[in-house]
Symmetry: C2
Subunit: 501 residues, 2 copies
């Protein structure tokens, strides 16, 4: 096949020791980092540059079944030709080929946020191909030089360990929050060349008769990555000629630190955070306060990501403001960018999106803002297993023991007006409290008992007509007191979840 | 005192709101970071530049008793004048003044390692003054800009969280390993301006009539810090105009991460590492293997520091090689730079300097390479509470139960040659093992029993004349077996520390 080699599609055999060395290094890296299982189908993103061509040839020689996937950004006139060239590479090796043409214009790429959008479109395409082919792995040709550039770009924005680790060798792309819940899958993105310098892939291509396409936009200084690649790194080498090795060292250290922090956050999360309904998370304030500062910060970042706020929107300062508040050194109610409300609710801090259906299993709450008639015996079910239990009985000796407390009240059954209703409160309504003259506003009862604002709308109120008989857990009304003449009583009891009675 | 103000020594009063704001910020920072206790004596390093003059004025106004300490590097002709100027500043405020003139030449400063030596000389001077004045705190005028420069200089070398945090607001300078054990004290170095930009201190000086000396060497591009300050940071601002804030954010995140890691290393150290004599540390191999990778790395870095190896000598790759070996994926004996030997000894990994007097409390070892006569009854004391116990007794029925094992042997007391001696082994000596024909080399006995090489020189040998009677814990010799004609026996027993018997 010398013709094929002359055409730059690759040499079928390879006895070059330096090239064999690269093959071995990549195989070792794949094994060490558990990137691919033997013979696993791989969707390979191939731009046609030296890195991706090298990876194509290496994975093919290592025996992995491949689908070659090319995303044509369509920004340069020659890009269609390049797509054909990659197709030829695939056909020459008898591999399936998939292509998609992007819809963005060059100008849109130059805006930083749309540069991200382009990357998003490219990965989305790879994910789609993976789904269609039922593949578990995507691979890209990112090298150690890409890693260094990523680290520096993240540093310029002010990064922590996750940013300074750069790219992971293996990452669950199917769960990246940026793709939304609709795309969720177990597909992973592998980067088998992440340990190799870019000069190695160029050398490999040269020795194997692989002719990479030359993408002129790699020189375009309007792209941040190109400025970092060509200008910043060169100037850093003036300070330390070995700066690339130094930055790779930083990347390794940060990767291991980030992994450790992630494990610690997993543990802390388990003890501290509960899902408080769709779009809402609740942090136990006391547990949160005891966590180390670095873990507090990461728990909040995870929360923000889970609530669907882009990391760039809720930056360091915003997270820090919330963290400080959660330690009791700030307001008890504030907002995070990305429309997340943060507020203290009892022993918890609640982070909730505006559309969140927040649940409070620790408090008596109505499932819905409806009114329910209290039966003569049995229970009215509230949310999360709470109940209002009702029972009529004849007045006996020792009835004076039926002293009302916060969770149990008794009424004179013949005096109490009917029907008895459980409902949510009405704005502005008042209560005539037992043992007091006059009436107080229900809102003041909530305030007196420090009921968080969030809980008031669905707090159950037991009433008859316009009269409030009882605010369960808080205050009894003055109607139908048990007295010397009482023949029968009705007892109402607020029963928490999983309790008897 | 308008004259003093005209002379640039400072204005006695200050009603300028921006200046008051700075005073408040520094006071807050001192309180938050617990840098100084109220009215605590502070040794203040004052170069005469804007940062240190600002700090001098601020701390004086905040009421801290101060000693002004000036280190004259003596590199420029005008440096003597500058020292006088700082002296004037102190005298104007009625403060003690201390000065020392350095012995290095300008050329020696330009070498990176001697730049560190100059810093060392400067801090050593401050430490000496602190000791003389019985002060617990030294303060320097490092600002947020110095912090950013430090971060970048560390990054250029390839740093982890400790390097990327930059300087700590408070650091136990009296315990810095670079000063050696002779200088150990509780003195701490505080940096009260670390939260402020350099422009703030310049502004403060201008508003308070303080005229900083202008150090021309701050422009000298042969100093790495000046290149980073003037050139690198400017070029980074081209990529992100807000890069200083971004890097300060990284510094804060890294500081908190490093603090957390340090706490985790404290805990892991407790469970994993023991002092194995002066200049030696022993790691429990199994415990070390279970620690997270990032913690393993930091434990080794701490070990290296404790053994007095400069961090620059034992770099990332060297530590990584040792770490890998300690996980069982490398040789069982290797060297760290800085003349530290690393080797597997039983269940431990030993890190030892060449001059270390290594101790092995888990094995029977002689305290010194001497010979001791075994008494007729009682014990011979070995190192770390191990003992060799001896007892003569009449032969009784059931003497067949006196079967020798590794820790107990019996001899025919009338056959055994005297005197019985406990000593260290002699190179090349041989043993006639019990129950075997011929003689074996003692070194082969050690090898058969997998006795680490380190333990052989001081392993006790029980002998009489040239004959080895017993190698405790390993092998009995063939002499004086207990037989049918035995009248009396002598029993030798190897007793571990804290055991009865």
């Amino acid at each position: 096949l010398p013709g094929a080699q002359a055409a730059g599609l690759g040499a079928p055999e390879c006895y070059n020791p330096r090239a064999m060395q690269l093959l071995q290094e990549v195989a070792d890296f794949i094994r060490q980092e558990r990137l691919l299982e033997p013979s696993q189908l791989v969707i390979l993103g191939v731009s046609g540059g030296a890195d991706s061509l090298c990876l194509l040839d290496v994975l093919h020689r290592l025996g992995y079944p491949l689908v070659v996937a090319h995303f044509d950004h369509g920004l340069r006139p020659e890009s269609g030709q390049e797509a054909l060239r990659v197709q030829e590479m695939a056909a020459f090796r008898g591999l399936d080929f998939e292509v998609e043409r992007g819809a963005l214009t060059k100008e849109s790429y130059l805006d930083g946020s749309l540069e991200a959008a382009a990357r998003h479109a490219r990965y989305r395409f790879l994910l789609r191909v993976a789904t269609e082919k039922a593949a578990q792995r995507i691979a890209t040709g990112h090298t150690a030089d890409d890693q260094i550039e990523t680290l520096l770009m993240n540093l310029l924005r002010g990064a922590g360990p996750d940013g300074l680790r750069g790219m992971k060798p293996l990452t669950p792309i199917g769960r990246w929050p940026e793709f939304g819940p609709g795309v969720q899958s177990d597909v992973q993105l592998a980067r088998p060349l992440l340990g190799l310098g870019r000069n190695r892939t160029r050398d490999y291509c040269a020795r194997h008769g692989l002719s990479p396409v030359s993408d002129a936009s790699n020189q375009d200084r309007r792209f941040l990555r190109n400025r970092v690649r060509h200008d910043l790194l060169e100037s850093l080498e003036y300070y330390n000629p070995e700066v690339r090795q130094a930055l790779l060292r930083t990347s390794r250290i940060m990767g291991d630190v980030a992994d450790l922090l992630e494990t610690l956050v997993d543990q802390a999360w388990e003890n501290c955070v509960r899902s408080a309904g769709a779009g809402a998370l609740a942090f136990n304030a006391a547990v949160f306060t005891k966590a180390p500062l670095a873990i507090q910060r990461r728990m909040l970042r995870r929360a923000v990501a889970q609530l669907g706020v882009p990391t760039r929107e809720a930056g360091f300062e915003a997270v820090e403001r919330v963290r400080t508040a959660m330690l009791g050194e700030g307001p008890s109610q504030l907002n995070l960018p990305g429309r997340v409300a943060v507020e203290r609710v009892g022993s918890e801090w609640l982070l909730a999106r505006p559309d969140a259906r927040v649940t409070f299993p620790d408090y008596p709450q109505l499932d819905a803002p409806t009114a329910v008639r209290v039966p003569d015996s049995g229970s009215v079910e509230l949310a999360h297993g709470w109940r209002l239990r009702v029972g009529y009985q004849a007045m006996e000796d020792g009835a004076q023991d039926h002293v009302s407390d916060e969770t149990t009240v008794v009424f004179d059954a013949d005096q109490i007006p009917h029907p008895i209703i459980v409902r949510s409160s009405v704005s502005g309504e008042k209560l005539a409290p037992f043992g007091m003259h006059g009436r107080v506003k229900l809102s003041d009862v909530f305030i007196d008992h420090k009921v968080p604002r969030r809980l008031r709308a669905r707090w159950p109120v037991v009433s008859s007509g316009d009269d409030i008989l009882w605010v369960p857990g808080l205050r009894r009304g003055s109607l139908a007191p048990v007295g010397a003449s009482t023949q029968r009583i009705v007892e109402l009891r607020l029963v928490p979840p999983r309790a008897e009675g």
